[in-house]
Amino acid sequence: MSRAQRFVSWNEQRFGSAKGVRWLLRYVFPDHWSFLLGEVALYAFIVLVITGIFLALFYQPSDTHMIYHGSYTLLDGQQISEAYHSVLNLSLTVPAGLLMRQTHHWAADVFLAAIVLHVMRVFFTGAFRKPRDVNWFVGLTMLMLAIFEGFAGYSLGDDLMSGMGLAIAYSVAMSVPLIGAQLAHLLWDGSFPGGSDFLPRLEIAHALLIPAALAGLISVHLALIMRQHHSQFPGRGRKESNVVGTPMWPGYALRSIGLLLAVAGILFLLGGLVQINPIWQWGPYEPYLSTNGAQPDWYIGWLIGALRLMPNFEPTIAGHTPIPNPFWGGVAFPGVVFTILFFWPAAERRFSGDRRRHDLLDRPRDKPQRTALGAALLSWVVLIFAVGAADRVSFRLNISYAAQIHVWRVGVWVVPVVVYLLSLSAARALQRSGAHPLRGSPRVRLRRRPSGEFELVDAGSPSPEIHERSGGHGERRCERTTE
C-alpha cells in the first residue's frame, strides 16, 4: 500500500470520512474576483487571532497607577496606568512585540474594510436573496460585532486616544433614552472613567466574548455557504440549478492558500514597515486631557462624522432630557443604516413580488431601483464619514470648519437624492446599451443563416446560449449573457 492509501484508509476505518472528503475535494467554487472579498476578511481574522493571542500574553488590564521609568525617556517620571505600561513595554521592549501589535492593528483595519466591501458586493449583486438571506443577517451581525471588537481593541491601551474614544462611547451610552445612565454605569463599573473592573471587562469582551461570537458566526456563515453553494454570475453553462467553476482540489485549494498567505504577508509587511497607533507618542490618558486632530480608526469615522454634523438639538421636557445629543450620531444613525440593511431582503421581496430562490447573481444594472437606492444609502454614509475629517480639511486647505459643517448639514440630504437619480439613469442606460462600464461595448458577432435570419455567434462557444431571465419588475426579456 502506498503512503497515501494507508493515510486514507487509516482515516476511513476510524471516521468513515472518505465520502465527506470526496465531496469536499470535488466541491465547486465559481470564479469571480469579487467573491474573494469575504475570503480576505476570513484570512484577516485568522491573522487577528494569531497576533492577538501573542498580545494577550503581555497585556495587563489594570488602571492602577505607577511612575514610568522605561526605555522611552520622553515619558520618564510620568504617572501612567499599568495597562498603558504593559502596551508600552510590549511595543518598545518585547522583541517582535511591535511587529505583532502593528500587524494586529492593520489586520483589524483590513478585516473591517474587507467586510464592508464584501457587504457591498453582496448587496449590489442581489446575493442576499433567498436562500442566502439568513447568511446576510449573519454577515451584518458580524459587521456590527467587528466594529465593537475593533473599538474595544484600540481602547485597551489606555493611551490618550483610547481614553478620548472611551469618553465618547460613554457619552453615547449615557445618551440612550431613559436607561442610558444606568447602562453606562453597568458597563463602566461606575461613572467615567470607570471602576477598576472596567479594563478587565473590556479585555474579556475584546479577547474572548466577541471573538468567540465571531468565530461561531463565521462557522455558521461558511456552513451555510457549503450547504447552499456559492452564488454565481450568469454565463456559459451556468444555471440556477448548478454551479460552474473550479473544484476544491487541487486548483482552488492552492489559490485559496495563496490568498491566505498573501493577506498575511501584506499585513506583516504593513505591521513591520508602516507605523500605526504609536501610543508612546500620544501619552497617558487623564479625563482632563485631550489633543486636537485626533481621528479614530476608519470604521468609526462614520460615527464621528455623524456626531460632529448633528446640530445643537437637545430639548428638555418636564425637567428631563429625553434624547441627549450624542444619541443621534452614535445610536440613531448606525441604527437606521443597519435596520435598512437588515430589512432589505424582506422589503425587496415585498415590493418586487419576487419570492423565488435565486442562485444566479444580478449585475447592478439588472435591478436599477436596488442599485440606485443602495448607491444613495452608500453616498449618505460615505459623506457623513468624510465630514468626520472636516477638521483635517480645515487644517490643510484652510476652509472654515464651521462653514463646511453648515454646508454638509444640508448636503448629506441632497447628495444622496442626486446619486439616486444618476445611478438610476446610469443603470438603465447600461441596460439598454449592454456596455460594461469599464470594458466598453460588448463585441457581438452575427452570422447569417442560409435561410436568411441572423444568429449570434459567441466567440467562446460554438453554440451561443441565450438565457431567459426575469427583469426587475416582472417583465421578461431575452438577453445574451456575457462573461
Binding site: 470526496r22 457619552s171 453553494h229 453553462g237 479625563p287 486631557l289 432630557t321 441627549p324 464651521a402
Partner: protein
C-alpha cells in the same frame, strides 16, 4: 396470495440490502466541463524558486530576531516570506496542477416529503394531550421567569447611580495645577488658559478638571445670577464637554482688531464651541447645553479657590441631568 406477498417482501428486502454494494462507487459530485494539464518545466521551476526564496526570507526572520529584532526588518522578512509562498501557491494553482472547470448540481434544499414528515412527527408528539393551552401557558411563564432570573445578576455589574452628580469641587477648595502647585490670581493672564484640578481631589474624577481664564471687563457678559462668580474677571468652567465628555482643550482668543469673534473654548472631539464671556453658552457644534461654570473666589493669600460647586451637572447629558 400470502405466499406471493411474502416473496415480494423478501425480494424487496434483499434488493434493499444489496443496494449499497451495487452503488458502492457513487457518481462524481462534480462533472468536468473543461480541463487542461497545464504543467511545464518552467512553471515548476518558478514555484520551486519562489518556495526557496520564501524559505530564505523565513530563515532571515529568525536571524533578524536573534540579531536584535528590528521591527522593520522583521516585518520585511516575514511579510516577504509569506508573499513569496503566496506567489508559489498561486502559480502552482494556476499553472502547475490540472486546470479544471466543473459543473456541480446544487442541492435543491426543499423536499415536500420531508417537510410533511417532520410536521407529522412533531404533531404526533402532542397526541393525546387534553389541556394543551394550560401547559403552553405554564411553560411560557416558567421560561420567562427563568430568563429573567438568569439575567438579574447583570445588575451587579455596576453601582447604583448615587455619585453621578458628585464632583470634588466645594466652597474653599484650592485650584492647583497638574503638579499640585496652587494657582494664584496674579498668575492668570488674559489670552491664556489654564487647566486646574482640586487640591487633594482625585484627578481621575470626571468632574476634577477645570479650565481657568481671564477676560477683560468689556467681554464679560455673565448671566444675571452669576455676578460674583468671576473675581477680577477670572472664570472657571468644567473642562469636560457637555456633548461627549472630551476635555475642552482649545482656546481661541482674538488678538487683532480684524478678528471680531469673541473668545471661545472648543472641544477637539466634535468641535463644540462655548463662549466663556457669556457663562459657557454654546456658540457652535453639537453640545446641547452650556459648559458648567464654577464660581471662584480669591483668598487673602491671593490663591484661587472654588466659591461653591458647579451650577449644573458636568459631563455628557442623560435623562435626569441637572441643567441650567
Amino acid at each position: 396470495m400470502r405466499e406471493l406477498l411474502l416473496r415480494l417482501l423478501t425480494g424487496w428486502a434483499a434488493l434493499k440490502a444489496l443496494r449499497p454494494q451495487r452503488s458502492a462507487r457513487q457518481p462524481d459530485p462534480a462533472t468536468t466541463m473543461e480541463q487542461r494539464l497545464g504543467s511545464s518545466h518552467r512553471a515548476e521551476s518558478i514555484v520551486a524558486g519562489l518556495l526557496g526564496l520564501a524559505a530564505v526570507c523565513a530563515f532571515a526572520f529568525t536571524a533578524v530576531y536573534a540579531a536584535g529584532a528590528n521591527t522593520q526588518l522583521l516585518g520585511l522578512a516575514l511579510g516577504l516570506a509569506l508573499l513569496l509562498a503566496a506567489a508559489a501557491a498561486i502559480v502552482a494553482g494556476k499553472a502547475v496542477v490540472r486546470q479544471e472547470t466543473a459543473v456541480q448540481e446544487r442541492d435543491q434544499l426543499e423536499s415536500a416529503d420531508a417537510t410533511e414528515h417532520v410536521l407529522e412527527i412533531t404533531h404526533s408528539g402532542g397526541e393525546g394531550i387534553s389541556r394543551r393551552t394550560l401547559l403552553i401557558g405554564a411553560g411560557t411563564a416558567a421560561g420567562a421567569a427563568l430568563v429573567t432570573a438568569a439575567a438579574t445578576p447583570v445588575a451587579s455589574l455596576g453601582p447604583r447611580l448615587d455619585r453621578i452628580h458628585a464632583t470634588p469641587w466645594r466652597r474653599g477648595v484650592r485650584l492647583v495645577d497638574d503638579q499640585g502647585r496652587p494657582y494664584s490670581a496674579q498668575q492668570i493672564e488674559i489670552g491664556s488658559f489654564y487647566t486646574a484640578l482640586p487640591e487633594g481631589g482625585d484627578t481621575e474624577d470626571l468632574g476634577a478638571g477645570i479650565v481657568v481664564l481671564k477676560l477683560p471687563p468689556e467681554l464679560l457678559q455673565l448671566p444675571a445670577g452669576r455676578r460674583g462668580w468671576a473675581p477680577q474677571g477670572i472664570l472657571a468652567f468644567s473642562k469636560i464637554c457637555t456633548h461627549a465628555a472630551c476635555a475642552v482643550s482649545l482656546y481661541r482668543y482674538p488678538t487683532s482688531e480684524q478678528t471680531s469673534a469673541e473668545p471661545a473654548l472648543t472641544c477637539p472631539c466634535h468641535y463644540s464651541t462655548f463662549l466663556p464671556g457669556q457663562g459657557g453658552k454654546v456658540a457652535f457644534g453639537p453640545a446641547g447645553r452650556p459648559l458648567p461654570q464654577l464660581p471662584l473666589q480669591i483668598a487673602r493669600d491671593g490663591s484661587l479657590r472654588a466659591a461653591g460647586g458647579f451650577d449644573q451637572d458636568i459631563g455628557p447629558s442623560w435623562w435626569d441631568v441637572h441643567r441650567v
